[in-house]
């Protein structure tokens, strides 16, 4: 850490906490001073040490084996925010093993800290407004960037990766709608996460069931899967009374809470029906007859237009920019397939609809470049979710155009000619002729 940063931090914290009486979280400090979050926490601690009588800290304890009360259930990794510094020791005692204790935020001493969520929220909002979340800043602030979901999604569009679909279905429920309504093989793949989820909920003994997320490129016959599913369901029904209590005993940390919108469930049902129709084709995944595949695509695509998008659904789409991105990509892919198919069989799709599709695609392509690379938003649980979008394809063109512009501008400046004449100032006649 540079000395200048410490002085700047002292000044900032003193002004904000002591003078203005507003809380500061490590995140805000990190972005304000452009230092890593680790340094920001140290700076907060340093400031607290020198101003113990004026500021109150909020500690963040991370550790294992935390138990609430004497008979409480001991859990895995637990992170606790301690509002009252005096209770720090008390809370520390509840941990079996403490990984770290950090200063999460500083508040003015007289401040009412009952509204901790508000403190965090306002600080986060401010922090977001201070600097953009991009790869460069991630490194600077010491964040570990997560998996690039876009990459995986693009994989699934191209390579039909099952794993990506699983990830996609779990991560962004809104993605499902555009995807499910379109591609036959996507829809086919889509079905696979569902049984997996059911298996998780059911008995753990079904280890023979393939885990699609871990084996993205291994083909597993769906017939077998479905047979197993049915078997499982039957077993579940049989063992229902016995299995339910055992489910409760499973620690919450081990099961991944997955949010699935209830709205899209009917779509899923439709798809699974469609899949059933083409079940025989599924046996030969490597060479699915193109016509059947495309016919399915068309059917699904056209069903897009039959959907009634209500306001709520729209809100869902707009609030999650990435899914829109994905849908546009898939639509693009679909369009290519559609074009291929048009050559083979023109009767399947009525032309006007195709036109509408084209228009829609164009609109979406136009919108694409406007989407930011990285989007940050709060999910329903209040967690800050950052999504990295794939770079829009049109960007290079734009850049080229810009380069062209700058080139012409630079040639102009090199020319000197026009500027020589343009720089000239018009003289007035009054400078030459006097009044009579």
């Amino acid at each position: 850490m540079v000395m200048g940063v410490e002085i700047e931090s002292e000044r900032f914290l003193a002004n904000r906490v002591l003078v203005d009486g507003i809380s500061v979280t490590y995140k805000l400090l990190s972005r304000k001073l452009d230092v890593s979050i680790s340094d920001a926490k140290k700076l907060l601690y340093g400031f607290y040490q020198s101003n113990k009588d004026k500021v109150a800290p909020i500690y963040l304890i991370a550790g294992y084996g935390y138990s609430e009360g004497s008979e409480g259930l001991k859990t895995g990794l637990t992170v606790r925010l301690i509002r009252d510094a005096s209770k720090l020791e008390e809370v520390k005692a509840k941990f079996d093993k403490i990984e770290s204790i950090q200063v999460f935020a500083l508040l003015p001493l007289q401040n009412d800290i009952s509204e901790l969520n508000n403190v965090i929220q306002t600080n986060n909002d401010e922090a977001i407004s201070l600097a953009a979340l991009d790869d460069k800043n991630y490194v600077k602030w010491g964040y570990i960037s997560g998996i690039s979901y876009t990459e995986e999604i693009s994989d699934d569009v191209q390579g039909k990766s099952q794993a990506a679909l699983v990830a996609e279905s779990k991560l962004s429920p809104a993605v499902k709608q555009p995807v499910t309504a379109k591609k036959h093989d996507l829809a086919k793949e889509k079905e696979s996460p569902q049984p997996t989820k059911k298996q998780n909920l059911g008995e753990d003994t079904k280890s023979a069931t393939p885990e699609p997320a871990k084996k993205p490129f291994v083909y597993v016959s769906r017939k077998n899967q479905q047979a197993q599913q049915q078997q499982q369901q039957q077993q579940q029904q049989q063992q229902a009374p016995a299995s339910r209590p055992s489910n409760r005993n499973v620690p919450a940390a081990k099961t991944h809470p997955v949010y699935t919108s209830r709205k899209i469930k009917p779509d899923k049902v439709v798809i699974s029906n469609d899949v059933d129709e083409n079940e025989d084709d599924d046996m030969e995944v490597d060479d699915i007859p193109k016509k059947t595949k495309n016919a399915k695509n068309n059917k699904d695509l056209l069903s897009l237009f039959d959907d009634d998008f209500d306001d709520e659904e729209n809100a869902d789409h707009t609030s999650k920019s990435q899914p829109i991105m994905v849908s546009s990509e898939t639509v693009k892919d679909e369009k290519e397939d559609l074009d291929d198919q048009m050559d083979v069989d023109n009767e399947d799709i009525p032309n006007p609809r195709d036109e509408i599709l084209e228009n829609q695609q164009e609109e979406e392509e136009e919108e694409e470049p406007e989407q930011p690379k990285v989007t940050t938003e709060y999910d329903e649980d209040g967690y800050l979710v950052t999504k990295a979008n794939k770079k829009p394809e049109k960007k290079p063109e734009k850049k080229q155009a810009q380069r062209k512009k700058t080139q012409t501008a630079s040639t102009n400046t090199n020319n000197g000619g026009p500027h020589n004449t343009n720089k000239k100032k018009q003289a007035s006649l009054m400078a030459f002729f006097g009044k009579k």
């Binding site: 006649l429 009054m430 009579k436």
Partner: protein, 258 residues
Amino acid sequence: MLEGKFEESSLMKKVVDAIKDSVKLCNFNCTEHGVTVQAVDDSRVLLISLLIGEASFEEYRCDRNITLGIDLESFNKIIKNGNSSDFLTLIAEDSPDNVLIIFEDKKKDRVSEYSLKLMDLDSDFLQIDDMEFDATITMPSSEFAKITRDLKTLSESLQIIVTKENVKFSSDGDFGTGNVVLKGFVDMDKPDESIKIDMARPINLTFGAKYIADIVKGTSLSESVTIKLADKSPALFEYKLPSGFLRFYLAPKFDEEE
């Protein structure tokens, strides 16, 4: 009392047409020798000096000096009403509030009479001393008009470079440049189409193209135009009238540091 009768109204039409875009309001000073106008455009870059000599009129009478403050736009509206071949007579009292404009058709017995309200205009008369010019170019007015129109599309400035043998009109714009070089030559059969370059010193002057575009509106007045240039001085563009002239004095553009 002023009473001036033109053989044809076309001369007055052309004069008004040539200057109405440069100045809106001007005083027509009528003396016993003819009518003179001196007016400067609003930006004080272009000065118009017009002399319609007594000989330009078929009949001319002006007992005492009369100043007619004329709105050229209105005057143009009236003067357009007459046929070019009509007789045009201007009549004004000694202290006039309006001027009578009478068109007489030569073939029919048709007389059109219009009255134009006059304006009381303040005008500063500028003293134009006899200037010494370094270069004089006489060329067909239509040629000059074409060059101006063409080069104006490239840039808002028009450069005139006079060397011993030729004159170069040059325009350097954002998207390109244009140069028109004319060499002096004499056409014995059609003297008006000759290009005459007299040069005492090389000249390189830049003018606002829009002003020159206004100047070439006088093209219809004369077959030839005379351009007189002097270093760091206003240029003179002159269209000769049967008796008189229409002159434009245009201040050049200078480099900012100069």
